[in-house]
Amino acid sequence: MGQTIIEKILARASGRATVAPGDYLEVTTSCPTVMAPHSAMDKGAGLITEWNAKIYDPTKVMLVDGHLGATASHGAAEKRKALREWAATVGVPEENMWDLGRSGIENMVAVEQVWALPGECYFQGVNGHISTAGALGSFASALSFGTAAYLLRGVNWVKVPQTIKLVVTGEPRADCTPRDVSEYVLGQLGPSGAVGAILEWTGPYIDALDMEGRFAICSQALFTGAWTAIMNPDDTTMRWVGERIDTSGLEPQTSDQDADFAAVLHFDVDGLTPRIVPPPQRHEIHDLKDYLGIKINRGFIGSDANGWLRDMNHAARVLKGNTIAHHVILNITPGTPRVLKGAVASGAFTTFLESECVVPTPNEGMEWGANTPLTDGDVCIASAQTNYPGRMGGKTSQIFLANPAVVAASCIAGEIVDPYEYFEGK
């Protein structure tokens, strides 16, 4: 019997020849651990200094502000200061500080810097959407409240998960993004369709996709109940990696043909139209056409689902030559400085300004109400990750989730519309 990519990575990380689903392992990695100022001190970091305790390797800690950005709220100044003081005490080198101007969404910085290595485990202190890094062929997981425990021990435990193989074929409509494919598959699986499992994304659709699109798809794994997502590294993967780091010494892994998958599920996304997720349930995925005409007054394009350069250009295609409705604020937040620079080079950034959008510094930003927050009664169309009540502020505000083309077209119209006219025949 062959092994899945996840089983091979976990076997290597635990020093075993083979592992099987259900095995409990102690695993290590050479990858660094990202922590973020908005949450680090709540995840046990404060205990390390309080106990006068030593962490396993201070040079392996990266401090990335992916959530506070330039906000004045959310205790930003105090949290930033507290983490810097903590870092100085435990010995994290100054060059490991990724603060404003250099930082972006933690998961996106981690894959741009290739801190998550193909063939290894990658443990991040914050953010379950770190499944993003599975697109590099890493077993990527958040440590959450266990972050400080990992920093003390340098060892993490895993229960080897089952792998569900997804085979995706077909070509979605031009106004879709990879996010729509991910939402469609979530809708088919249901919120409990993959609990605790690994989603292994494969098939011709994935093979043809660029890395940004692959990261976006992997970012949403937890909404199916899956632990994380992974893809088998190919030439596209290794080109992204090789452009950024020295690849000698890497040992990328791939699944064997005869590996033991818990299920192999096929999805044909040919001609798929944009998806929409109405509030308040994250797992109720609908066709956009069922929600046309709903009045909106706020828009957001960003997050690790749609804050990539391909998303900026996707939105610009709709916005070019148009301005958004006067009663609407459209916040477009590039995920990282690389994305912002790319949007400047492609002309998308100028289009956003001409369309009268607001472009904050790269970060999660509006995703969790850290800038242009919502208040009671606001209705937002957003390419964010989540839509539960109060996510962006305002207990009775509403968040509809959709791709950047839908957001942009809806902000022009002042109501939810189908963006296909901007793509048809062009």
Binding site: N52, P191, L222, W227, T386, G390
Partner: protein
Amino acid sequence: MRGNAWKFSGILDVDWEICSYLLVRQLADKGPVTEEMLGEHCLVNVDPDFPKKVRKGDFVVAGPNMGYGHDHDHASMALKGAGVAAVLCENSAPYFLRNSIDHGLPVIELPGIMAAVDTGDDLEVDLRAGKVVNHSRPGHELTFTPLPDFLLDVLDAGGIYPMLKPRYEGSAGR
């Protein structure tokens, strides 16, 4: 452990049904957030009176994908703060399970639990033996594979940090 069951159906998102994330953020703006503070708001979006009705040592019984959504650990704190002794569920979102154990709250994945238990039932749970006895339904007993010893040790210590403290305190020699 012995207590009464509180059964909840449907998807329970850590950030809404179990404990509103907006509320956590608002509390955090005022100072440190404790388990007791969050316990007063535990599951109120499903049953507004739950924090008043639940007694220390009771159990929450839930369906599949308990603790759906983000890896936010405040939901585990809220349940613990409300006095919940353990969560028994069909299965659990992996981050909710890990965060709960690290906070010292047992989460037991036990297919069939929803059919075997009603709200108000008198349950006895043995984590090491892997056994749930429903005293309200005589003869009704469910078994499960116990967590491995190293995780039971975390639960016995009351969480990962109480367990690690004696081992690591003073190790930096600063």
